[in-house]
């Protein structure tokens, strides 16, 4: 107790070994990213050395990458959400109905976000209050909201041309300097916000804790149900936001909006090293994962394979990366 050293504050001394150990999964995914990128550049230099392809990535990847951020929180908390692609479309139904009623794009936008939040909140309620595993609960709500979209839209698609005149259009999907897509800016904003929430806010601490050991978390007074409901609500709100972005980008609404994003979004999270078992994961990994997933499609075509190869390559990369992450996690302990 008379140890004089003891009063010195903790000095986080930098050591390479420690850095590697505590950032193993992030370095792993970053290594995969660089390796694949080099392969793409060698295989298709014309495509991957030109800036066009990167602008293309930055305009299309955010549509699903934005949703992958709050989904990362859910997976860390030991939960799953399969309904967010339907919530994307349901948010747009709220958007269109509100615009039809009020002729206000701003109100329509707010209505979409509210709709998404409510749909996510309901997922949370079903999981927490009724104790249904989220995997099952959100299969149900995925069908439910898609069904609601089809009923309310009567299966029809329609132009959103009126949004071009509003401020919302350039703010969400405009191009800075005529080249840099605004949706990329929003992806960066959502990424930083989710990173801060997960790593710097006590809420994020509780997300890690309930995913790691819910019983411990509850013994120590964490309201696990409340944390879950907030995470699901967050996914709902951000999915509706992504739905508005994706629809305004093409200024068109399809009732099938969101189809095809489910696997890419999930794959981004798992490729990024978030543990399937909960309790561990990073926003940075998901961000890199989303760009790998987004690049694969372009790359398969650019290197001369047919589009039929895309899914096969997605599949192998996901399986290999999950194996790699679980291996790294065991080794670095």
């Amino acid at each position: 107790m008379t140890n004089t050293e003891s009063t010195q504050p903790y000095q986080d001394k930098f050591s390479l070994a420690k850095f590697v150990r505590s950032n193993g999964t992030q370095l792993g995914i970053f290594g995969v990213f660089i390796t694949l990128w080099l392969i793409f550049i060698f295989a298709a230099p014309d495509t991957f050395l030109a800036s066009n392809i990167y602008y293309a990535f930055m305009s299309t990847i955010p549509f699903f990458a934005i949703m992958a951020m709050p989904l990362t929180l859910a997976v860390i908390a030991g939960e799953m959400d399969l309904s967010f692609t339907s919530i994307m479309a349901m948010g747009m139904i709220a958007f269109i109905l509100t615009y039809d009623a009020t002729s206000s794009v701003a109100l329509a936008f707010i209505a979409a976000l509210l709709m998404g939040t409510v749909a996510g909140f309901l997922n949370g309620i079903i999981v927490v209050i009724f104790g249904i595993p989220s995997l099952v609960a959100t299969i149900g709500t995925q069908f439910f909201w898609r069904g609601a979209v089809l009923v309310l839209s009567e299966g029809r698609s329609g132009s959103l041309g009126y949004t071009r005149a509003s401020l919302l259009h350039p703010v969400l999907v405009g191009k800075i300097g005529g080249v840099f897509p605004m949706q990329m800016v929003w992806l960066i904003i959502v990424t930083i916000a989710m990173w801060a929430l997960l790593n710097k806010h006590r809420f994020g601490s509780h997300v890690f804790l309930i995913g790691d050991n819910e019983n411990s978390a509850r013994l120590m007074g964490i309201n696990a149900g409340r944390v879950r409901i907030i995470v699901f609500s967050l996914i709902g709100a951000i999915s509706a936001f992504a739905g508005v972005i994706a629809s305004l980008y093409v200024t068109y609404f399809w009732p099938s909006l969101g189809d095809g994003y489910l696997l890419r979004t999930l794959a981004s999270v798992f490729l990024g090293g978030t543990s399937v078992f909960g309790g561990a994961g990073t926003i940075f990994g998901t961000f890199i994962g989303a760009f790998i997933i987004g690049a694969i499609e372009a790359a398969t075509v650019a290197v001369g394979l047919t589009g039929f190869w895309t899914q096969l390559i997605y599949g192998s990369i996901i399986v290999l990366s999950v194996i790699m992450h679980s291996y790294l996690r065991r080794r670095l302990k």
Partner: protein
């Protein structure tokens, strides 16, 4: 004198299982109460009612003389309760500092955490109280690879850090070395000196007899008897414990008292 905690006729059932039946319990100021009883007697269930984790099926809870309805863990903590749970309540994938501050992270009014302060405090506790000397262990180390006793040390230090008025220890010596056990027992005796109170559960009757002012024996969810350690010798207490384990009662005299109590 008001008691720090008082339970009146508290019962707790888990479905068919009645874990506690009509428990009357008091914890005074400056008092260490020991709980003794067989496996499954209901000791942990009792303390989890005090910590707000379990809500009693019936009965009343008083803190400092005032009745508390719907006690929760955060509420109990505000009332000054800190706990070392039998199951330790740690999160193995998380770092040491997150475990120390589990559920009460130091944060500003917006909820953003003061991570540097938490790491500094963790570092200080490691050196001053946990006896971690290996430089491989830092506040950023995940605790999953710690030894059993080290994990127990984390759970204990965490409960003591927050300077609570009421400290509840459910089998805290489990997995501790002789040296660490002695340190802990000295600490529990010191709790009284600092004007605080404690509830101490241990299967080692020597430990309980050594630190407790009063011992409560729980048998099959009921209070089977209470003794002031100053009024009873260790041998007598052990004798009574054997008898209760075998026959369900202490001796003739106590049995009468006990069965009268039941008839009322």
């Amino acid at each position: 004198m008001t008691y720090r905690i008082e339970l009146k006729k508290v019962s707790k059932s888990f479905g068919e299982v009645q874990a506690l039946k009509d428990i009357d319990f008091k914890l005074g100021q400056n008092e260490v109460v020991g709980l003794l009883g067989d496996n499954g007697a209901g000791k942990s269930t009792l303390i989890k009612i005090l910590t707000g984790y379990h809500q009693p099926t019936s009965g009343e809870i008083y803190f400092n003389g005032e009745q508390v309805e719907n006690l929760t863990v955060p509420k109990a903590r505000k009332l000054g309760v800190e706990t070392v749970y039998q199951e330790r309540a740690l999160a193995e994938l998380q770092t040491l500092w997150r475990n120390i501050f589990l559920g009460r992270e130091l944060s500003n009014p917006l909820g953003f955490m003061d991570i540097k302060k938490m790491k500094d405090e963790t570092h200080r506790l490691m050196i001053e109280s946990m006896g971690f000397t290996s430089s491989a262990v830092t506040p950023d180390s995940p605790i999953g690879t710690f030894s059993g006793g080290e994990k127990q040390g984390v759970a204990i230090v965490r409960a003591l850090y927050f300077n609570a008025d009421i400290i509840i220890l459910d089998e805290p010596t489990m997995g501790l070395s002789l040296k660490e056990t002695r340190k802990l027992l000295n600490f529990v005796r010191g709790i009284k000196g600092a004007g605080k109170s404690a509830v101490f559960i241990d299967h080692n009757i020597f430990h309980v007899y050594n630190v407790a002012d009063r011992v409560i024996v729980i048998d099959r969810g009921m209070v089977a008897g209470e003794f002031n350690t100053s009024d009873i010798t260790l041998d007598d207490l052990m004798d009574k414990m054997y008898r209760i384990a075998e026959t369900g009662s202490f001796n003739g005299a106590v049995e009468q008292e006990y069965s009268q109590g039941q008839q009322q």
